[in-house]
Symmetry: C2
Subunit: 239 residues, 2 copies
């Protein structure tokens, strides 16, 4: 558990940028410490906000869970990245980010270090993914300067949610590479083919029988419309 502020009613995005940077530094420091334990293969950093997103308490907080296995949901990201790299000799995330920046219509925010976009195949209305422009598989390898830019990007998108979507419930999940413990494992290519990133899933529509039975998600909002809306909210906030 990472407590993000001593204030009982202050959300992460309402805090000064320097405080958000401190939260991100806590993620990094805890990650580096947990990685010393050879039993752990994966560190899951996540944040549940609001009752609809499964939050069990209101005070602004994030969670870090260390796992002795690499989750299947992560392997379903890692394996296609490797296949893409083997086939094209290029990084999948880099290609997606470059393409989205060029096409513009699904971009929500961009600064010197990060791009934030509504994914082409968004599962939820106003879902966003945030990824670094620099190739890096491990979140814990971020420098202080990277974390300042990350805090800026997070503050922008979470503030757009707060202002534009009336303080929605959401889940934030940080996907980073599995811990390699300096060993040559089957994941030794991750430094080239995988990139850490953050997914933020607003929980305004439910997960119901159809989603459980099929794995498909019904999303009534086009990612292009969601991105335009969040851009316009951001512009209004920053005027």
């Amino acid at each position: 558990m990472v407590v993000e502020t001593p204030e009982p009613n202050l959300a992460l995005e309402e805090q000064p940028l320097s405080n958000i940077v401190e939260v991100l530094k806590a993620f990094r420091a805890r990650s580096l410490d947990l990685m010393k334990d050879g039993r752990f293969k994966y560190l899951m950093i996540f944040k549940n906000v609001g009752a609809q997103a499964g939050a069990s308490q209101r005070h602004a907080h994030s969670q870090i869970i260390a796992l002795p296995v690499i989750p299947l949901a992560l392997k379903e990201k890692l394996n296609p990245c490797r296949e893409y790299f083997v086939e094209k000799d290029r990084n999948l995330y880099e290609d997606i980010l470059r393409n989205e920046i060029k096409e513009e219509e699904r971009m929500v925010y961009e600064n010197a270090g990060y791009g934030v976009m509504c994914p082409f195949a968004s599962r939820f209305p106003f879902e966003v993914v945030l990824m670094p422009k620099q190739q890096r598989a491990d979140f814990h390898a971020c420098k202080d300067h990277d974390l300042v830019l990350l805090a800026d990007a997070l503050k922008h998108v979470l503030m757009a949610y707060r202002q534009g979507l009336n303080v929605p419930s959401y889940n934030l999940v940080l996907h980073t590479a599995p811990i390699r413990h300096g060993k040559q494992t089957r994941w030794h290519t991750l430094d080239f083919d995988f990139r850490w990133h953050i997914e933020i899933l607003p929980r305004m529509s439910g997960i119901a029988g159809f989603e459980f039975g099929t794995g498909f998600h019904i999303n009534p909002v086009l990612p292009e419309e969601a991105a335009r809306f969040l851009r316009e909210v951001n512009a209004g906030v920053n005027e």
Copy 2:
């Protein structure tokens, strides 16, 4: 949409057995009709009850959605069934049901045609799976007599939820074999290796960041305890 009753405040399990049989016959009739359309590869029958399970209206109803593709979530069931059959020359569902009936502790209810159990690796507290004792890949092939026994099993487990869990929200999903349109497809082995079944997922605990990020589910209730509780509620109801 299958409207289950003209009564505005009556749940499926509160209806007389004969009405529940009529609902199941409607599932079958609609399935047989939709299967005439060569575009469809899969029919998804499901039921969302309560706001936490994503129900958008209160009146007792079920839904049938016809899909032009076989959902990935279903393939993740079909493929292991085939692998199991290839390796052991036995049906996976038949082996699970036989084992659960023998071990007893995860069984919730049993009649001449169906077994209801809390799965060994339950994702949600009080999750149950209901499967026919007779090998059959397709729900739509059920005879009238099968549907009477199915209605009996459904009424028992849903009444145990209602009485024991204080009318919980839940999703019910019927997993049946893909439509083969009489053709020799790669799914021609399903009649031997796959069995239709129903999953019922009470939604008392949320799906949050950890579940999205890992695909793992945190379930604080052992399936053996859940099954015992539901058995005892059923016994109380039927005294």
